[in-house]
């Protein structure tokens, strides 16, 4: 039996996960998302990441970004390398794509602020 903390929402439920052959049973979750999280955590842990990309503007040197969908946990630093290689020159808006389908993981890196288009 393994104990994991659910990170889906601020409740932070303590999940008890039991693996019986191919079968995974989860207890301690207050909702369905907790069960999904536990199963994913035992098979292929996924995470979201948030960071910044460089811009060409002195007054706003960085633009905040995040991935549009969770990525495999073991790819976090590889995705960070991609994010750190980018310099944004267009006045992107919130939600605009910065890197399409990053490393073929099925998630885009998107802008999370209108700061460049508004200022």
């Amino acid at each position: 039996m393994k104990e994991i903390i659910c990170i889906v929402c601020p409740n932070g439920c303590t999940l008890n996960v039991e693996k019986n052959g191919g079968e995974i049973t989860v207890t301690g979750n207050k909702c369905k998302r907790g069960e999904e999280f536990a199963v994913s955590e035992m098979t292929r842990p996924m995470r979201t990441i948030c960071s910044t990309v460089k811009t060409d503007r002195a007054d706003i040197p960085v633009l905040p970004v995040r991935v549009s969908a969770d990525i495999p946990k073991e790819k976090i630093f590889a995705v960070m390398d991609e994010i750190n290689a980018v310099t944004v020159t267009a006045p992107l808006k919130r939600g605009d794509t910065v890197i399409k389908n990053v490393l073929g993981l099925g998630a885009d890196v998107i802008a999370t602020s209108d700061i460049l288009s508004r200022n």
């Binding site: 659910c6 601020p10 932070g12 948030c50 960070m80 919130r94 999370t112």
Partner: protein
């Protein structure tokens, strides 16, 4: 033209929500912000997890703030940025707000004020760290400002003192950007931050958490070179002989937040020792008629969703404010309650649906929140657990309790089974 129904001081999530609500309710509104852009601390909180309660989405701080800024702009609410309130005077029923900005000084008049001034971080001096004064000692918020707004990494190898949420978030953020985080040291025997942040910010990146440890000394002349770490006893006193020196170029402090209430204090607002914010009634009006408080100035929140909610409550009440007499009764903190908002009820107001926020003083399992009125239990809610870092919210119908100004209303916790 300098007259408004409501003036909101502070353009973070609480102030934005208050201004939007007051405007929607028909008030003329001015928002005053000392920084150059609206959004408050959310501008630099680029991590996600905001808005799960309100929008059922995991937004980053800027995304959450900008949803409110978009609405604020669409309502054409007036705002003054880079403007600092220097003084507030009460002149009969009217408040005079004195400000300074690049145009010079000005005075604005209003009949209700919403204080949405947020909170400040505790600093190294407030937690008694001795030694030299090298550069490289930052609060977590300052490190966050450097990293997320200026794009400058403030450390290569750092130690984090305190396990508050911003410290945990920064441990992950600095690690992602290539800084080695040697460890998070917490003087208390349990973490201060949310459990999910311990997991996703520390455990995911193999950053060790040392409980019952603190920094007792800093070394270095120009730049920080090392810190001395000691174990502490249950009274958080360093234990002699347990010192160890850890080499690092930065010490990042996440040792607590204190509501910022200089303006409130100047107005003579009564303060609460539990929240370190103003004593408020259910409409979030302080002890001074016409002065409302919300967000982290009222009490430090762990979820922005509740900050916005309190802003809306204060904004609506400020818009509707008429100088009518209050008949107040106190809500008291009893056994096991660290903080409680509101701290009083206006029995002349609507008390049938009052939003109450509280924190327990200790980690409790299988427990209950109990409200006793004149010694008799009138309300009970069970909890699987209560943890001091996690603020609880509930809505209570006080109108059912036949309250009078002399009622003794006490909130307490009880462990129901061990």
């Amino acid at each position: 033209m300098n007259n408004y129904d409501v003036i909101v001081i502070g353009g973070g999530p609480a102030g934005l929500a208050a201004a939007i609500q007051a405007k929607k309710d028909g008030a003329s509104v001015l928002l005053i912000e000392r920084e150059n852009r609206l959004g408050g601390i959310l501008k630099q909180c680029i991590h996600d997890g905001f808005g799960l309660v309100r929008f059922e989405e995991k937004l980053s701080g800027p995304e959450y703030a900008e949803r409110f800024i978009d609405e604020f702009n669409s309502l054409s609410i007036e705002a003054l940025a880079l403007t600092f309130v220097t003084k507030i005077k009460k002149n009969g029923d009217i408040f005079e707000i004195h400000v300074v900005n690049r145009e010079g000084t000005a005075v604005f008049n209003c009949r209700a004020i919403v204080l949405a001034t947020g909170c400040r971080e505790r600093t190294a001096k407030q937690v008694f760290i001795h030694g030299t004064r090298p550069s490289g000692v930052f609060t977590a918020g300052t490190a966050q400002h450097f990293t997320n707004l200026l794009g400058e990494l403030p450390a290569k190898k750092c130690v984090i003192l305190g396990s508050g949420d911003i410290g945990l978030i920064m441990a992950r953020r600095l690690t992602l950007e290539g800084c080695k985080v040697l460890g998070v040291y917490e003087a208390k025997p349990s973490p201060s931050g949310l459990t999910r942040n311990i997991h996703q910010c520390l455990n995911d990146y193999d950053i060790p958490l040392f409980l019952s440890h603190t920094v007792t000394r800093v070394f270095g002349d120009e730049r920080l070179e090392a810190v001395e770490i000691s174990r502490v006893d249950e009274k958080m006193r360093p234990i002699e002989g347990t010192q160890q020196t850890v080499e690092c170029d930065a010490l990042i402090l996440s040792v607590g937040l204190i509501p910022e209430n200089e303006l409130a204090e100047e107005l003579g607002v009564s303060m609460d020792s539990g929240t370190k914010g103003p004593v408020c009634d259910e409409k979030l009006m302080t002890s001074v008629e016409g002065v409302f408080s919300c967000g982290n100035a009222l009490h430090v929140n762990d979820l922005v969703d509740y900050v916005s909610e309190s802003g809306e409550t204060a904004g609506a009440a400020a818009a509707a404010y008429k100088n009518t007499e209050r008949t107040t009764v106190k809500l008291e903190r009893g056994q096991g309650i660290m903080s409680l908002v509101p701290q009083m009820l206006d029995l002349n107001g609507a008390t049938s649906s009052v939003t109450v926020y509280f924190r327990s003083a200790d980690v409790l399992n299988n427990c209950a929140l109990i409200i006793k009125i004149d010694g008799e239990e009138k309300f009970r809610k069970k909890y699987a657990f209560l943890r001091p870092p996690e603020m609880e919210r509930l809505v209570i119908d006080f109108s059912a309790f036949n309250l009078s100004p002399d009622s003794k209303i006490v909130f307490e916790t009880e462990v129901t089974s061990v």
